[in-house]
Structures are given as C-alpha cells and as structure tokens.
Symmetry: C3
Subunit: 318 residues, 3 copies
C-alpha cells in the first residue's frame, strides 16, 4: 500500500483485516520492522483516539514518532497555487510538505473541512497537497471528507462480533448541537459498501451523503423501520451535504434509545467517539451491554498498526 | 501499588523512599522493566517539573510516553453523571478515560481545581473518574487537592539532608498575587504527618488547611515563633480553604527573608517551584547556600521513577 | 564543543562540516552514542524545520527527546535580575533553567526577539540565562539574534553544490509583509565571513545589519549589480537594525525573479524557509531547477546531528 487515504488504496481488504487481527493477538510480533523509520503526525484539529492509537501503533512497530499541532507549533499553511502570500499564512504547502518528507518516512495528517465551500472541502487540498509534494507515503488521520482508519477499525469490530455471515448494519444519523463533518459517515459507507454486509443508511430528508460514497447503499428515511432486524447500529451526526455544512434538524426523536434498540436483532451499538451523551444517544444505551464503543476504539490501534505495516512493507519493496 | 493518588496508596513508605534513593544512585538499574509499556500523561494545566521528571522517569524504565494537553489537543471533558451534553464539552470522562485505558498501561493526570466550588473540587471528579473508568493504574500529577509526587520528592530531600533523627519541619504560608490551589500544602502535610518529623504549619488566621490533611500537625499563627529551631522551612502560598479560593491576605511581612531564616537552626529552604521571587521569598534566601529548591526538583525524577516502578511491579504480579 | 550558540563556539569548522557530511552518508553510524541521554527542546516560538530536524538528529544518535512549548505547556519566564515577580510571569529563568538542567543532558532553545528594544534583544537574555543557570550544554534553535543551526546547514549546502573553489555568495534582502528578526541574516553573514567564499550583502539603505556580524562583508546597495556572477543567491527579509524592528520598505522590485536570476552565474537559489511565495520570491524561481531550498532544509538534519554529536563528545571527555 502506497498511501492510505481512502478504501481505494486497499488492494486486499481481507488481508488487511487479517493483519489487524494478528496484531490484536500479538501486538509486538514485528517490533523492529520500523526501526530507524519516523512517523510524522500532523494535526490541524483536535484528536484523542487517532493521535494515541496511531502513535502507539508506530511504537509497536519500532518506529519513532514526531508529532506537531501544525499551525500552532509551526506555521499556517497556504494551499492555493500561485497565491501571493501577503496574508496570515507563512508557509506554502509545497515547501511544508516537501520539508516534512525530508524528515519523515510516513506522514499522517488530520485536517477537517471548513464546512463552508463544498467544492473546496471535497477537493481535499491539504491531504492531496501532501501526497503531491511530500514524496513519502501519506496516512489519512481524518481528512475533510474521509476517515478510513476509523472505518477499518469499524469493519474489524463488525467482523469480530457478527453472529451471522451477512449481518445487517445500519448507519443512523442522530442529532447534535454543532455542524459536524461528513467524513466518518462517508468513509463508513464507502467501506460497508465493499464489505459483505446488508448496509442501510437512515437519516432525515436533506441529509443524503455524497453519492460517490453512499451508493449503492439502501437509504431508509424511517429510522424505526431501518432498525428492524439490525445487527449493528452505527450512530453519527453529520451536517447536510446538499445544503452544505448546515444543520437542518436537531430533532431529538432521532436520538438512539433503548426503545429503538429493542426494534433490532439485539444489535450492537457503535459510535466513533467522542459522543454527546443524551443528545446523540441516551446513557442507557451507551452504558448498556449492547454498546461496543470502547472495543471499537481499542481496535483503532490494530487497524493503524496494520496500515503502517502495509506501507512499510511496500516502501521496503521499492 | 495500584494507583498513586495520595499517601494512602503507599503500602510501605520506607520501601518507596529506599527505591527512590536507589534510582538516584543508579537511574538505569532497571532499563527494560517498562518495555512495551505506555505511560500516558494528560495535562489539563501547565507543568514543567512534573511533565519532564515523570516523562524521564518512564524513559529510564524503558517505557514509552504519550503526552496530551488534553483539552487543547483533544476534547473538553464532561464529568457530570447523566449530563445532557449540548454545551461545549464534546466527550464524557466515561469514554475519554476508558479509551485512554485501551492505549496506556499507566495514566498520569494533572487537573487543577477551579477554586470556586469547594465540594466539587474536593470530590476530585477528574482523577476519580479516571480511576473508575480507565481500568489501568492512575498517577496523580497534581489533582485539585493533592500533589503526592511532589511530597514524596520533598520527603526524600528532607531525609537526605536532615542533620538529626527527628528534624523540625515548618510549612509556612507566604504571600502571592494569585489565588493558588491547596494541593501542595495539603499533600505535604499529609506526608509529614506520617513521617518521623516534628511538623509545624504556620499561616495567618483564615488559612487553615482542610483538617483531613493538616491534622494532627501543630498550627502556629506566629510565623517567627514557628521558625525557631526549624531544620527545614517549606514555603508555599495557598488560597483559603474556609473562605474557599479567596485571597485573604497579601501581607508582605510573611515573605521569607534572611532575617527570618536566622531564627532557624540553619534551616534548609524548600519550595516546590515555580516560585515568585521577592513576593514569596527574597532573592537573598533563594540564591543563598541554605536553598535546596533545585535538589528538591532533581529528586522529582527519582520519586516518579520509584512510583512507576512500584506500579509496574504490582501490575506484573496480577 | 561546549555550547552551540554562535559560530564562535565552533573550534574546527571544517571538521564539523565533515562530520555533517558523514552523517548524510550514514545517518545511523553512531546509533548508541546518545543512549540514556536526554535532549530537551524548548520553544517560545513556532518551529517546523528546527523542531523536526533537531528531534530526528537526536533520535539518530540514540537520545531521547523531551519537547516543551515552554510558556504554553509550562510557565511564563521572568529574566530580569532582582525582579519583584508580582506580574504575569510565574517562574524565574534562574529556577526554570536550573531545573531543566536536572532533567536534560543538552537543552535546545528557540526564543525570538521582541523587535522593540534592540539592546535587550541583542543581550540574548534567554539563551544566555540558560547558559548561565542550566549547567548543561545549550544549543541555539534560533535566538533573538542568531540561528547557527541554519547557517551550518547553509554552508554545508553551499560546499556540496559549489562549482568553483571560491564561489560568490550573495545575501539579498527581499520584501515581506511583517517585521522579521535579523537572526538568519546575522548568522549567515557571521558564517560566510569565515568561509572560503566571496560574500556580498545587498539591501536597501537603512537595512544594514549589526556590524559585529556583517563585517567585513561587501555591502552593495544595487541588487542587480550584486547579482552579477553570483553562484548562490540567499534571499531573506529582515527588519531594520538601525531603526530597530521597523519595516522601512516593502518595495516589490526587490522580489527575486527569473529575470534577476539571469544576471547570475546560473546561481542556486537559497532560502531558510518558511518563505512567502510571490512576495519574497516569485513562484518561477522557487519551482525552477535552480532552487535548492528543499535540499537546504534536508541538510538541517545532518547539521544538527553533527552539532549534537560534537557536544556529546565533549561532555563525555569531561
């Protein structure tokens, strides 16, 4: 694997999942493969799970990790080609990325969308700029549009806990107080559409995800109907794609409760975290036996470790 | 030792001090005991000595360290049970702590009090929440109420430099421009009350510490009288416990000067640092031969190393 | 080498350059020389290249690295002797530096000037305070006045790419939107004046550098004339030394363009980065074949590694 920016970078999904499971059994199976290799982690936005799981994954492989909160520790980054840089941005991504590439063997980047200009966000200028200019493999730590390290861990968790060959997986929109990116649902849809699952997305009208990621999933506007016979409920808020970045609804009737979970086939409850308790999901669900959000977070480590290992393998072969 | 949150977690104080002294003689005596173990350090507040000494202590044991300025790098944390999270806090401590516990073998936490609601502060919701939900040993890097890594280093320093079997140790309040926590004096009192010292606390009326920590120490309201025959003067400002979080006095006559030090038995001068020069203590004392504040800071490393080692030993035995 | 604060700390410049080149050929030639040694990196200002290259240099030598954004992670530092510390600064450099020295074997410091009080800035109170009080070797990561790690990498790059024994090297002022420090040009001048090059500085009147660093370089006020037959063009903005910290000109005719580069002897284009595109230098130059800014940044690693190695060698000998 050269880069890990979307599911399209994965040549063999089954092999990648197998490797992640192997690391779950034995995290220190390959403690020296990353020796003398540096993972650079760049954050333009907050991160807890991704920051720590990716860092630990690299350490388990014998890599060193260098972390920067990029625009606080370093310089604000210009991404526009041909810009006359007389404003607030001190460094162009052409230099910033190329320089990082001199010091790092792999670079991970977190860069959220602005949720103002859809075309700009969906162009993924930051992560694509690093791919173009850094000259080393790039790992997506959640970009404007996708969060594949999360989706790989999600799929791994579903594979671990499914009770039938082809489980029903429901991605459900849930209310929130802030306008959130579409990266997690986009990415989850992209992965589920390739996995051996019966995949349904449910949300209020107006919350349709970008078709390049959501299709060909079934869209069901009736949340209760969607929940019927579900084996996994994956809750997440997102802002509108069509009415870009806008909150169209805060309807509390979309919050996940035990009553709704009763409609399912004893479904496991999933969320990428952080989660707003009693807004997105009721305490009774999160604190109940069906919640697997912590196991899901634990799997982030092994997903990241498999991704880094695959990239190290590829770069060694070159 | 399971956790290190207060002196009550220490089963054998003499053994812990002995281990700290052994590490001072040979910091690299056990360079592999922490291999493949991760220490997570979480800061909700600034830290210099604690940050660096605890980090280095872990490195000396062969551990890896992952550091987060939690609410800047990650997400603001809700601690209230049953909260409807529609405000500024994106993550509940139930998830935040449990997730950290998936990635870390030991977690250290710094979380200062708000100095507004005494009951809330003295409940220690943050550190107790981590103990409850993280599932791994917790180290107190200065909580709302206590700072035991500091107190262990303080006791180690007193043991090193005492010239008689049972020295007189005086904790003296000193003036300051800001309202400061009671964690350092609370913790110092708690440790001194268990040590083989003649322990006296001196402060203006109204600055009585919480009795659960200060008792049964002697309280002497006359600073000069308290200083007589003292072997160690430990200066520190704190805000009022009774009139919670308030500054009742900035009386400069409580500042530590050479004239006051002359009342003592050639006492060593101690302070946890950082210290406001010429407000808490005059330059002439800090720059004089009796000041041991730098040795005291140096001992922070060995105190932290002994604590981490004790925790690693306990978790290995399980 | 005891400290690395200016070119004056370098006993044998040729030997230092030779070592840097050796590390470029084999970065892992001495992977254990820094074992059980800690490099502390303190930043009072943003840093990308210096932060990462110095960190990686230490890792290549087997050192551990502890990094602090000092006044954000720790406490604001008072540097004035005798200060009554009743303002915003919680810690004096006397304690801050001495404590750092207890935990670190080498300390690197970045501390920019205020550009308000020239005498104060040129006294270098922060880095000199650390030299005075820390008790361990100090590395300048860009101080108020000098940036020698940059200059060593610059000289290394010039030596690598020069096509004649004594190349003509031109340091040219270029326009910028903000008032910038004089540290990079001061330091570059200081190093070039000792190197075997024909060194010329060109800038508008009023931008004369501090004579202790610039002399005996040739000053040429006509930029185009300065460029004639140049083998290396080193562009950099700085604020006025005489009219201290002021922007006297934003004259865009001083921007570096291909037309100007044509006046040279196929000169290589250098800049320390970050660089404002189309303000300091036109895209056509930076993106052209003559630009060596990325190689220059890459050499920062080997320069830092040679400096740390030299300091480790000296401290071992003691």
């Amino acid at each position: 694997m050269k880069n890990f920016v979307s599911v399209d970078d994965v040549e063999d999904m089954a092999a990648l999942l197998h490797m992640a499971n192997q690391y779950k059994n034995d995290p220190y199976a390959t403690p020296q493969i990353g020796n003398n290799k540096i993972l650079g982690l760049i954050f333009f936005n907050p991160s807890l799970r991704t920051r720590l799981s990716t860092q630990k994954a690299a350490l388990n492989l014998g890599m060193h990790v260098m972390i920067m909160n990029f625009d606080k520790d370093g310089w604000a980054l210009e991404t526009e080609e041909g810009a006359i840089m007389n404003g607030n941005k001190a460094e162009h991504i052409k230099e910033g990325a190329a320089v990082m590439g001199q010091y790092c063997d792999i670079i991970g980047i977190r860069s959220f969308p602005n949720l103002e200009d859809r075309d700009l966000d969906y162009k993924e200028v930051t992560i694509n700029g690093f791919i173009k200019y850094a000259g080393v493999p790039i790992v997506n730590l959640e970009s404007a549009v996708l969060h594949p390290l999360q989706s790989l861990a999600d799929l791994m968790t579903i594979e671990e806990l499914k009770k039938k060959a082809r489980p029903k997986v429901v991605l459900t929109w849930a209310p929130h107080v802030k306008a959130l990116p579409q990266s997690v649902p986009n990415s989850f849809a992209q992965w589920m559409n390739r996995a051996d699952v019966d995949f349904v997305i449910t949300h209020p009208a107006g919350y349709e995800l970008a078709p390049q990621f959501s299709q060909p999933a079934t869209i069901e506007y009736d949340q209760q109907k969607a929940f019927e016979d579900a084996d996994f409920i994956y809750a997440k808020n997102w802002s509108s794609y069509e009415n870009y970045g806008k909150i169209l609804s805060k309807d509390p009737s979309w919050m996940i409760t035990n009553d709704k979970m009763k409609l399912t086939n004893h479904a496991h409850f999933m969320h990428c975290l952080p989660v707003r308790r009693n807004v997105v999901v009721h305490d009774e669900v999160l604190d109940g036996a069906q919640s697997i959000v912590i196991q899901q977070a634990a799997n982030r480590l092994y997903a990241a470790q498999a991704v880094l290992k695959s990239i190290l393998d590829s770069s060694t072969q070159l």
